[in-house]
């Protein structure tokens, strides 16, 4: 039987509060008796009767914390419970303190009912300010997704080094897409839970894989974005490693798919060696010349898991080629634009693609987003270009992507259809989305097909078809 009596001069709480605190501490395991009270003469008598010895200098302005432990009771733990109870009774949810909006991420996390690992911060402030907001989250023990671009690489490195030492995950900067336990962050598709865990250094590349897996009936546990620079020679896969570690720890994940541009060779070696130490198999989908495209990479993942590769549907018929010589790809997804260029170069030859002036424009590039929203949110700029390119006699074939999911334009088909309907040239569209996406995938496909586009669900397939039509036009 151990007794602990502690005076806290100057500490004060009202008697009702202290009654609640005392009750709550009495319920802590290892506590035989507990009383937290102001040392008024009455309370000193009560404490004395309970068998505690209150120091004679105690006065009514002093708080007394008196605790008797059972055998094996942990005083530090009980004192921590006293602190927690004092804090708890001092604050009530929805009190007036909640009314002023938080002005920093730290303040918001302090007010969020769930903090630490249960909460995620989603940072999309201008790049020069993203670092401090993200640090707030990491210092609170929360993972962070940095949607912002224009974050200097040394700041990215500082964030990821801080996170790596603490088992925290930094998704980004410039991370457009993540799905964490079914919750889409940024531009994310609605997926069913399943055995695949994705680590993606590419937003729309990740979305393409999510869409194709969904079509094949395979669910995704998590898709963790890491930002396009994570596998660079500077950042060296710091977030990729943490993301793979998380997925490896998750028993529902049976296979990890890493979607990225081909990393620097030494970084690739490091990542491969890290992956080798995990108990979950890691497959790579690398976006680059000489590598399988995203559709092929997804197909090989399906085959490896013994899942039948579905027929990727094609809906609608493109107009017959009528002159012109240029393939014009107008994209909202940066990775999708890049994949299209790589495929076209592999089919036509890089020199031919450049010499002929075939275009693969990414409207999400900084040059098009300075002072305006991403084209997945604001379609205006691409629609204008599409109408102009459609009217240009040099244009042979138009290739567009349509990316669905949370955060994206609510009805992109309705905006594109009238423009496409007015173009007499072949239009090929890749619609990247899942059946449960809020925009209604089937309706988007139908509207575009009815407007005269040939609609694919695979960007790679759409690109191959567009190249074929371009060849026909110039034959």
């Amino acid at each position: 039987m151990t007794g602990h009596v502690e005076l806290r001069p100057g500490a004060y709480a009202d008697s009702v509060t202290l009654l609640q605190v005392s009750r709550s501490v009495q319920g802590v395991p290892g506590v035989a008796a507990a009383q937290v009270a102001m040392a008024t003469p009455l309370n000193v008598d009560v404490l004395t009767e309970m068998g505690f010895t209150v120091p004679t200098e105690a006065g009514p302005n002093d708080m007394v914390v008196a605790i008797r432990l059972t055998d094996g009771g942990d005083l530090d733990a009980v004192l921590a419970a006293v602190e927690a109870a004092l804090r708890e009774t001092g604050r009530r949810d929805g009190g007036p303190s909640e009314e002023a909006p938080p002005r920093t991420t730290a303040s918001a996390l302090r007010r969020t009912a769930v903090s630490g690992p249960g909460a995620v911060a989603l940072v999309s402030v201008p790049g020069p300010s993203a670092f401090v907001e993200a640090m707030d989250a990491l210092e609170s023990g929360s993972d962070v997704m940095v949607f912002s671009d224009n974050v200097p690489v040394e700041q990215e490195l500082a964030l990821k080094r801080y996170a790596a030492g603490r088992g925290l995950l930094v998704m980004g900067p410039d991370c457009g897409t993540a799905v964490v336990g079914g919750l889409g962050l940024g531009f994310a598709n609605v997926v069913s839970p399943g055995p695949v865990g994705i680590v993606a250094a590419s937003g729309t590349g990740c979305q393409q894989v999510l869409a194709l897996l969904d079509r094949a009936g395979v669910g995704v546990a998590h898709a963790l974005g890491v930002g396009g620079r994570d596998l660079s020679a500077e950042v060296r896969g710091l977030a990729t490693r943490e993301a793979m570690r998380r997925l490896d720890e998750d028993n529902t994940v049976e296979v990890i798919l890493l979607v990225s541009k081909p990393p620097a060779p030494d970084v690739a070696d490091e990542i491969r060696s890290y992956a080798g130490g995990l108990s979950t198999p890691v497959e790579l989908a690398l976006l680059g010349a000489g590598h399988p495209d995203l559709t092929e990479a997804t197909e090989s993942l399906l085959r490896a898991r013994g899942v039948a590769v579905p027929e990727w549907p094609v809906v609608g018929t493109a107009a017959a080629p009528s002159g012109g010589h240029l393939l014009r790809g107008l994209f909202v997804g940066g990775t999708l634009a890049g994949e299209a260029r790589i495929i076209a170069e592999s089919l036509l030859g890089a020199a031919v693609v450049r010499g002929a002036g075939h275009e693969f424009v990414d409207f999400g590039d900084d040059a098009y987003t300075a002072g305006r929203a991403h084209p997945m949110i604001d379609a205006t700029l691409r629609l204008e270009h599409l109408a102009r390119a459609g009217a240009d006699p040099d244009t042979a074939v138009l290739l567009v992507d349509v990316v669905l999911g949370h955060g994206a334009e609510p009805d992109p088909g309705a905006l594109l259809a009238p423009v496409i309907a007015g173009i007499g040239k072949p239009v090929v569209a890749a619609v990247v989305g899942t059946a449960a996406d809020p925009q209604d995938l089937e309706r988007q496909v139908r509207v575009l097909a009815e407007a005269g586009a040939e609609v694919h669900v695979s960007n790679a397939r759409a690109t191959r078809r567009a190249v074929e039509l371009t060849r026909e036009a110039t034959r």
Binding site: P9, G10, A11, Y12, T17, E57, R87, G90, R91, R92, G95, P96, A100, P101, P102, R103, T104, T105, S107, A108, L109, T112, A113, V114, A119, V120, A121, L122, V123, S124, V125, P126, P128, S129, F131, V132, E133, M135, A137, E139, S142, D143, F147, P152, Q155, A158, V180, G181, G182, L183, G184, L185, G186, A188, A221, E249, D250, H406, G407, P438
Partner: protein
């Protein structure tokens, strides 16, 4: 890895909307761009690996201090102040740049010390500067309200932190209106100061010493705890605190053996001066904040002080350096016929109360005076809530009943001020701009914004091996 239970959204609302559409709650940050040009310094300081621990240490060092009243002694004895040495409020300043009220108080102080016959003769004395010197109170463990002039014969409260033995000092409060600290130096001002020196000081010394001997030092921190629940914010309202001090000292005053008429006059003087306790609240705050000085890497403000010309701050992580900018004019109400043109810019060390999380920071607990400083009750609640956005923590001792006993916002963080653009809110009295006038009003004021980016830049410079 589990589905996040909560998301904090900072930036585009659309992304927060998309999360809410998936039935996960989002706490949205009301984000605004930081103070101009601070982004890279903010990043450098945010990346300083010492910062989180240093700030936690600074905050807890400050919160652990308890201030007790242990003695009352003349400045000559307490500080070794010699004839010709003058302490003043705020950051360092010379006579040439001193404002009207500071000059007035220095002139009155010179007359009080017998350096000149007539206060007006002191102008030449200070202009020549040969036999006099000026030094900030803060440099001598002291704080002074308004002009804050301390001379060797003035009696000082002596506060001590029992755990460390550290001490801080403050003069005795003269009351309101025509008083030295507001720059008045007429005969009635000097007469009152002489009575305080001859009668009040010795009586309080005897009473405090007897009280300490019979029942221990007076717990100033404890009185602050209680007065904050009795409608005082301990800067512009000190009514409950003053009465509690009287409660603690009056038995010893009565039994001091001093002439009953003198005791009665002293009790009447203290009881009739609602600000009497301010001069105990201030050194209690300084005693707490000084515990956080010199903690490298900490971004916590340890002093805010004004000399009537400059507003200065000192920060835990930047040593004794002052970051200064022009003192601002308060916005508030004026006494009698006085108006904005009569007021001097902000003056006094009393912003040490806000630095410690009370005064303007605890406005919500003092609804009775919101009109006095030109505000409303909702403004007062909003002010205290807003200050939580720029502070490191809460003071568990000092709680605000109307805010569900939330602790007062404590430990001003330079980085948070720069990030949010929210400036510390200070309750203040207004001195007349012309030496000799005295108080002209009271109101609300903030520091000049630019001193926070200055302090931030110095903190960023001090980051070892700055990488960002």
């Amino acid at each position: 890895m589990n589905t996040p239970e909560a998301v904090v959204g900072v930036g585009a609302d659309l992304l927060a909307d998309a999360v809410e559409a998936q039935a996960v709650p989002v706490t949205r940050v009301d984000w605004r761009p930081p103070m101009e040009g601070t982004e890279s310094d903010l990043a450098a300081v945010a990346a300083d690996p010492r910062r989180p621990e240093a700030n936690a240490r600074a905050l807890s060092a400050m919160l652990e201090v308890t201030a007790t009243l242990v003695d009352v002694v003349p400045a000559a004895e307490a500080l070794g102040l010699e004839p010709g040495q003058f302490l003043h409020a705020g950051p360092p300043i010379e006579w040439a740049r001193a404002s009207g009220p500071l000059r007035g108080a220095l002139m009155g102080g010179a007359a009080l010390e017998g350096l000149v016959e007539d206060p007006d003769e002191a102008v030449a004395l200070f202009e020549s500067g040969t036999s006099v010197s000026l030094e900030p109170c803060h440099h001598r463990s002291t704080v002074g309200p308004m002009a804050g002039v301390v001379t060797p014969s003035m009696w000082l409260w002596v506060l001590e932190d029992p755990a460390s033995g550290r001490r801080t000092y403050c003069s005795l409060n003269e009351g309101l209106g025509k008083v030295l600290r507001y720059g008045a130096y007429g005969p009635e001002v000097l007469t009152r100061l002489r009575w305080m020196g001859d009668v009040l000081g010795p009586l309080l010394q005897r009473s405090v010493r007897d009280t300490v001997a019979s029942s221990g030092p007076v717990d100033v921190t404890g009185i602050l705890t209680q007065m904050l629940q009795m409608g005082d914010e301990a800067h512009n309202r000190n009514r409950a605190g003053t009465l509690m001090l009287l409660r603690d000292l009056s038995p010893a005053m009565v039994t001091s053996g001093y002439d009953a008429a003198d005791v009665a006059q002293a009790l009447r003087f203290v009881g009739g001066n609602d600000h009497f306790f301010l001069n105990l609240a201030m050194p209690a705050c300084k005693l707490a904040l000084d515990a956080a000085r010199g903690i490298e890497g900490s971004t916590m403000v340890v002093a805010m002080a004004r000399n009537g010309t400059d507003f200065g701050i000192q920060v835990a992580g930047t040593g004794d350096e002052w970051f200064t900018g022009p003192a601002q004019l308060a916005d508030g109400l004026f006494l009698g016929d006085y108006g904005p043109d009569d007021a001097n810019p902000d003056i006094g060390d009393s912003a040490i109360t806000e630095t410690a999380g009370i005064g303007g920071f605890a406005m919500a607990t003092a609804p009775a005076i919101v009109r006095f400083v030109g505000g409303s009750v909702p403004d007062a609640l909003a002010t205290t809530r807003r200050m939580h956005e720029i502070t490191l923590g809460e003071n568990p001792r000092w709680s605000v009943p109307v805010l569900e006993f939330q602790g007062t916002p404590t430990g001003i963080d330079v980085t948070k001020v720069c990030r949010t653009g929210i400036l510390p809110q200070i309750n203040t009295g207004m001195a007349g701009a012309v030496a000799g006038v005295g108080q002209v009003g009271a109101g609300l004021v903030t520091p000049p914004a630019e001193i926070f980016p200055q302090a931030l830049a110095a903190l960023a410079q001090a980051v070892p091996g700055r990488s960002l």
